[in-house]
């Protein structure tokens, strides 16, 4: 049994974008706050803090979820991926990020990291998505400035690019 009493600062460690990280947190500390305030990984944004807006979405063991509804201590020992870890290369963006730039799928960028993380997971799980499925996945996010048309255009194109890339490797 893992036990942490309420006032105790416990050591929490997990893998963040392939590298081990550790820090101290009270049991009540949210994973989103832990990443930003303790680890200093500020790519994950914090919006509503009750699971509605989707800004803080990241992947735990590959699965996209809200980091404001996960405690830091609950991520112990697991594999966490954030927006900082979605491109293979330090100096280049991923296919999805490129498509966002091309289609002006962001203005202020506050909601963007969460949206990217949802689609990284979704497109891995559903390699041949319909527009309706993409729209449904986006419905778990709130964007208050860009509007959703640019975001939809970006994710549709990214899905096609990834599909074509798979096609060429299959052949």
């Amino acid at each position: 049994m893992r036990v942490a009493s309420k006032t105790e600062l416990v050591q929490v460690g997990f893998t963040l974008n392939g590298k081990p990280v550790t820090g101290h947190a009270e049991p009540r500390m949210l994973l989103s706050d832990f990443l930003r305030q303790v680890i200093g990984a500020t790519g994950t944004h914090v919006g509503c803090e009750h699971g509605v807006c989707g800004c803080c979405t990241l992947r735990i063991d590959g699965v996209a979820q809200r980091s404001c509804l996960v405690l830091a201590v609950q991520a112990e020992g697991l594999d966490v991926q954030t927006v900082e870890g979605i491109s293979d290369r330090e100096d280049a963006m991923s296919v999805l990020q490129e498509a966002f730039r091309k289609h002006h799928a962001l203005q202020c960028g506050f909601c963007t990291p969460g949206i990217l993380m949802s689609f990284v997971d979704f497109m891995e799980r559903v390699p041949d998505p319909t527009e309706e499925q993409l729209r449904d996945t986006l419905s778990g996010h709130i964007c208050r400035c860009t509007g959703y048309a640019g975001i939809m255009a970006a994710v549709i194109e990214a899905a096609e690019t990834l599909r074509a890339a798979r096609g060429s490797t299959d052949a």
Partner: protein, 276 residues
């Protein structure tokens, strides 16, 4: 928007979890996916002494078909059930309703059992449990018991789980709705809380079951003969809607809710009769 301080316990075995539950009683809240409880903690609508985390218990991560029932362990996420290969055949109604539970991102962590324990009056999974005649499996250190949906959910956000018990699974009879099953939900946006959610299934002996959530404190079910005439069905639904009354809130008036039930139920009936 930060939770009040609490002690945290993450059980590694079910036995361990049950021992702690028996010792700490109602000082503990049980957390599985935390997609409702997490928000309530952040908003300080609840501030428990301690949290007992059951999300890593392998014993509670199984979906099993046993004696004509599908038993879904309390740590199985909504996404895992949605991706389960047997879903469409064994639980056709759940296959229809589950995509309406929250969003992709919350289904990925939220559990099937957790949604049923939370017992929001408008939610889909408690409706499925009541409509299909499902049960909730509760365990203590000493033994276990099974409660029907009606005996488990006592009211809004209130259930019959005792302070030494843990819900370990929810259980649905397999194949209900194979002869016809329909689901419809009205919400401001897909993924929002339902204004009403309505389901209709054809039972083994042909009878029809109509269920609705969002009209009362708990999901309500009406059973009717399979050969009921359309006009008689409409009359029955009318009386059902008046019995439940519905309530007025920021999203919809009671009258609108009654009207949705009256208008949607006959559509669902003709849907399942066309399939048959």
């Amino acid at each position: 928007m930060k939770p009040a301080a609490f002690d945290y316990y993450r059980a590694e075995t079910l036995r361990e979890a049950l021992e702690l539950r028996a010792e700490k009683r109602d000082a503990l809240r049980i957390i599985a996916g935390g997609q409702s409880l997490g928000a309530m903690l952040n908003l300080r609508l609840v501030s428990p002494e301690g949290l007992l985390d059951i999300s890593r218990l392998d014993e509670l991560k199984q979906i099993e078909v046993r004696d004509g029932r599908v038993e879904v362990g309390a740590a199985v996420t909504q996404s895992q059930l949605l991706d389960w290969a047997g879903l469409r055949e064994k639980l056709p109604f759940v296959a229809q309703a589950l995509p309406w539970v929250g969003h992709f991102q919350t289904r990925n962590r939220g559990t099937v059992g957790g949604s049923i324990c939370h017992g929001d009056p408008s939610s889909e999974l408690p409706l499925a449990l009541a409509l299909l005649g499902g049960e909730v499996v509760l365990r203590t250190r000493r033994g276990s018991r099974r409660l029907s949906a009606g005996d488990f959910q006592l009211g809004m956000l209130t259930n019959a789980c005792e302070d030494d018990e843990i819900v370990v699974a929810v259980s649905f009879p397999a194949g209900v709705g194979a002869r016809g099953s329909a689901f419809r939900e009205v919400a401001r946006r897909h993924g929002d809380f339902a204004i009403v959610a309505i389901g209709l299934v054809v039972m083994d002996k042909g009878q029809i079951r109509l269920g609705v959530s969002g009209m009362a404190d708990t999901p309500q079910v009406l059973e009717l003969p399979g050969d009921i005439e359309d006009a008689a069905f409409v009359e029955q639904v009318e009386a059902f809607a008046w019995r439940l009354k519905g309530h007025t809130d920021i999203h919809a008036s009671a009258r609108y809710r009654r009207d949705l039930l009256r208008r949607i139920a006959p559509q669902l009936l003709s849907e399942v009769r066309q399939c048959a």
